[in-house]
């Protein structure tokens, strides 16, 4: 399908840096986050969590807790209906263990009591008898013959013979003749790479307030990336119709994909239903690490062939991901994206998901792509070293471009990879001198981006100001960008527009804030809602002037007569039309509903300079530049923020972040002390270069920018470290003990 939404034009507001509407509230504490919502008569929830990686629940005795006068409700898995659709059943099973504990920290019993302290005391009175089972938390252990079966009956029907019952999903992509491709290569390198599970590390823990009335109507306030999917999931789990449950999203202190599922909301609703009172449930940091979804960990084998002049002749990858104790589809974007930056005549990826005794994974920024592309970009870098070729030139030689049949099937339209690579080549960073113990790494990155179901309503207030109502929680500055697009389209100043995020009853469905979709899809719907309002305003002006409505055009925030039969009338401003609207037909608004397509894939290139202390293995990131195609940067601050934020998270992933398990299968670092996200002083200023290759699928050319930026850092940093120490690193994180061990092994 040809996409022709984009029209070139001169912008007045797009591309400027307007103040965000939520800024002052956030720095003064006025903003309401998940845990800030309260209600009269509210109870406090607490969850008893299992201290085992894998165990049968023999019995649960809650009688002593229930005897406490402060305890108003107790909930176990037995309170929920079983036999929901697989996906929804997995969601609730991950929240609260049915008959088997599947990971350390798995919920077993939830309590609602009149105070937090009472709830905690009550937990101590609950007796659970466990039968501890052998566990598997690592991919290799879960894949091994004789591995404990994490959940019986979940083996995927596409999984080939030879894989055990923990293997739930399988996929394959690619085209061309691999053998012929490898035969043309002057050198083939095969390597195996590992990445640890990392957590999104959002600062706001999950929190909600659930209130179920005796009439079966419910309200839920929660911190989420999407109130609509929360409604859908919770309604199904609790067994109510969607219209009975209204969900309102709070301000959100970070999500990065981790808040695209539920971990506490159905539990709080069930407690509220049983107690007949509102229930507040919040997670501690420890619970966030143990019982929400980090991303997958991975083992990836990569084999790539290259000619001595740098042409990649064939590429092959086999990905093994684990996403916890449940089936998981993250292998799909992993296998699809692994080679997506290259134009290849022979490419194949295969991937398997294996269950382990870990929490159910959740999306994390470009889910599945960073680890796959890390593996591929590491081998490409090594081949460049092998032939003494410039790694940027090799990328330029092999880059996907318009018309390339991508490694996962579709043929690319206008894409920005070549432009991004050329910008990197021309940037002073690429040729800056390096000192001793320093090295430079680069990597490309890719993400699909997404559009999806979107509803926007735009009201022209009588005083000439504009209210935009959208249904996607603002996790990256989307309210400001949406207000800017509305103002641009209507031709009014930015500060005349206020955008709010509505509850589930106030608008049609909106897909979750993910897939870098909001500025693209909600922006598109906003522009079209504005156009609908403009159409109505032109009709009103035509009515006032008593001319044909086709004879009115909209320009610079004014209705103007145009064409031979229009006559001469003073242009009417939006404010004037709004003021008169009660007398010309009533309130004016526009709305737009769409399942948006044409999101437009996005590419990025990262350059990283670093220094390794050869005596301690400590890595200092010295300089970092992100080059990324934004299609159109509506608000450059927020685009840069996404590029910098992705790089920062990727740096943490590459250097220090990891889920660490003990021999007992229990998580050892459920806190920010030992789960090491970078602190501010760990990072240099991350430079950004925004490319704007308009996306034909958006009226202003927007492409999502939120995810691509976390993809390249893993390989960029690994390549820089490998070049600095002269050893090819094959495992993340590259914490100092690993780097020092690699240096020593090379010395011996």
């Amino acid at each position: 399908m040809a996409l022709d939404e984009y029209q070139k034009r001169d912008f007045k507001i797009i591309g400027t840096r307007q103040p965000r509407p939520d800024g002052i509230d956030k720095v003064t504490g006025r903003a309401l986050y998940g845990a800030d919502i309260t209600a009269p008569g509210m109870l406090y929830a607490a969850m008893l969590r299992a201290p085992h990686a894998h165990a049968n629940i023999k019995s649960i005795d809650t009688s002593r807790a229930e005897a406490m006068s402060e305890v108003k409700a107790v909930v176990t898995a037995a309170d929920f209906v079983q036999g929901l659709g697989d996906d929804t059943q997995d969601v609730i099973d991950a929240c609260i263990a049915r008959d088997k504990v599947l990971y350390d920290g798995h919920g077993v019993v939830a309590i609602a009591a009149t105070s937090r302290a009472a709830a905690r005391r009550a937990l101590k009175l609950i007796q659970v008898e466990y039968e501890v089972l052998p566990h598997a938390v690592e991919i290799d252990d879960a894949l091994a013959a004789g591995a404990p079966v994490i959940q019986a009956g979940r083996r995927g029907n596409k999984v080939p013979k030879g894989y055990n019952d923990n293997c739930t999903n399988w996929c394959e992509f690619g085209h061309g003749d691999l053998d012929a491709g490898f035969a043309k290569a002057d050198k083939i390198i095969s390597r195996s790479f590992r990445t640890a599970a990392t957590h999104q590390g959002y600062i706001e823990p999950h929190a909600c307030l659930a209130s179920m009335g005796p009439d079966g109507q419910g309200d839920l306030w929660c911190c989420t990336q999407g109130q609509y999917f929360v409604r859908t999931l919770c309604a199904e789990i609790i067994g109510m119709e969607e219209s009975r449950l209204r969900v309102t999203s709070s301000e959100i202190g970070g999500g990065f994909g981790g808040k695209t599922t539920v971990f506490i909301e159905p539990i709080a609703l069930m407690l509220s239903k049983k107690a007949g009172r509102p229930v507040k449930m919040t997670m501690s940091r420890d619970e966030v690490f143990k019982a929400t979804g980090p991303t997958v960990s991975s083992v990836t084998d990569v084999r790539i062939g290259m000619t001595r002049d740098g042409r990649i002749t064939a590429g092959e990858a086999f990905l093994r991901y684990q996403g916890g104790a449940f089936p998981c589809l993250t292998i799909f974007p992993g296998a699809q994206s692994a080679f997506a930056v290259y134009d290849l005549s022979a490419v194949r990826t295969r991937a398997v998901n294996v269950m382990t005794n870990r929490p159910r994974q959740a999306a994390y920024r470009a889910p599945g792509a960073p680890m796959a592309i890390y593996a591929v970009e590491s081998v490409v870098d090594e081949l460049c070293q092998e032939f003494g070729l410039d790694p940027l030139e090799v990328r330029l030689l092999n880059a996907a471009s318009k018309g390339t049949k991508s490694s996962y099937g579709p043929t690319f339209d206008d894409i920005g990879l070549l432009a991004t690579l050329k910008a990197a080549k021309a940037h002073p960073h690429y040729t800056a001198p390096l000192g001793p113990n320093q090295g430079r790494g680069l990597s490309c990155g890719f993400w699909f981006n997404f559009g999806g179901n979107t509803s926007v309503s735009l009201n022209v207030n009588f005083d000439g100001t504009i209210g935009v109502t959208e249904g996607n929680p603002d996790i990256g500055g989307s309210r400001v960008s949406i207000s800017m697009m509305a103002a641009e389209e209507l031709g009014v100043p930015y500060d005349k527009v206020r955008t709010i995020v509505a509850d589930t009853n106030s608008l049609g469905h909106n897909d979750v804030t993910d897939g870098s979709r909001v500025t693209f899809a909600v922006g598109l719907a906003t522009i079209k809602a504005a156009r609908a309002a403009i159409g109505e305003m032109c009709r009103r002006a035509a009515r006032v002037w008593d001319i044909d409505e086709d004879a009115v055009i909209w320009e610079d925030g004014h209705a103007k007569p145009a064409g031979p039969n229009a006559g001469s009338h003073q242009p009417m401003s939006l404010a004037e039309i709004a003021r008169q609207s009660p007398n010309t037909g009533g309130p004016i608004s526009g709305h737009h509903e769409v399942n948006a397509e044409g999101a437009g894939v996005s590419f990025g290139v990262h350059l990283c300079d670093l220094e390794v202390d050869p005596e301690t293995g400590f890595t200092t990131i010295l300089r970092y530049t992100v080059f990324q195609d934004a299609g159109r940067a509506i608000h450059p601050d927020f685009v840069e923020g996404q590029m910098q934020g992705g790089a920062a998270q990727g740096i943490g992933w590459a250097l220090n972040e990891e889920y660490i398990y003990g021999k007992d299968g229990r998580l050892q670092n459920a806190g920010f002390l030992d789960y090491r996200i970078p602190v501010a002083s760990d990072l240099p200023k991350i430079d950004t270069v925004i490319l704007e290759i308009p996306n034909p699928g958006h009226p202003y050319g927007v492409r999502g920018v939120g995810e691509t930026s976390i993809v390249p850092p893993l390989a960029a940093i690994s390549n820089a470290v490998s070049r600095t120490i002269g050893v090819r690193m094959q495992e993340l994180p590259m914490s100092p003990p690993k780097i020092l061990a690699a240096i020593k092994s090379a010395g011996n």
Partner: protein
Amino acid sequence: MQYAAPTTTEEAARLLASNPKAARVLAGGTDLLVQIRAGMIAPDLLVDIKKINGIRDITAEGGGYRIGAAVSGAELGEHAGVVAMWPGVVEAVELIGSTQVQGRCTMAGNLCNASPAADSVPALVAADAVARIVGPRGERNVAVLDIPRGVGKTSLEAGEFITSIYLPKRPDRASDAYLRFIPRTEMDIAVCSAGVSLTLDSKGIITEARVALGAVAPTVLLVSEAAKALIGHKPDDATLAALGKACSDACKPIDDKRGTIEFRRDVVAVLAGRAARIACQRAGGSL
């Protein structure tokens, strides 16, 4: 839970002795309150020592300095006299936490929390600092080295608490330094650490030295072999190699989520060498 904020050491000691099992001293609270919140401990009585007369003072005494037990890291770091005389101790204390934590944390709290990774402790041991302890049976002075007795254990007896820490006088051409290894640049816990205090003669030869290591054993280690490797030498490569070897040999690290045995053995030697160089430089020696 009860909270008391006595104004005299006698009253504080009496309160602590009245309920020796369930009472805890509260200084900055940056360990204690975290542990209470995490449910690790549930004391019945908190005795806040910050209101005790004089306990937040730094006083010159006998050519050295007596640091009150409730002096915060930030206050210590602003005391020109201590900074000039014991820069290694001050830099160790200033590594604790962040600006916010610095406003509350104390050396005595760091010491009595008895973590093997406590940052100020190796520097205090290298400095040969002495803690003054008050308890039901009066006052006694104990070398800082003798306070930690294991992970989370001290040699303080029931009802006892530290009222001050004494940093002794030091000769001319003497100084100290402290370095720790963390995987980040701040807000972290030492994987291993080294404090070195030394004195030089007029030619730059080390005449006295104390080397203390952190996070490589259940308690801080004072390594006399390491001091011997330094004494009689300039901090040249051979001397520092000998120092490093003595440190690696002396330490008894474990493998854990923060580092491996091998890594700690290697890196503690590197840190001791680098700290020795810095201390020499500060003492007026040339490299």
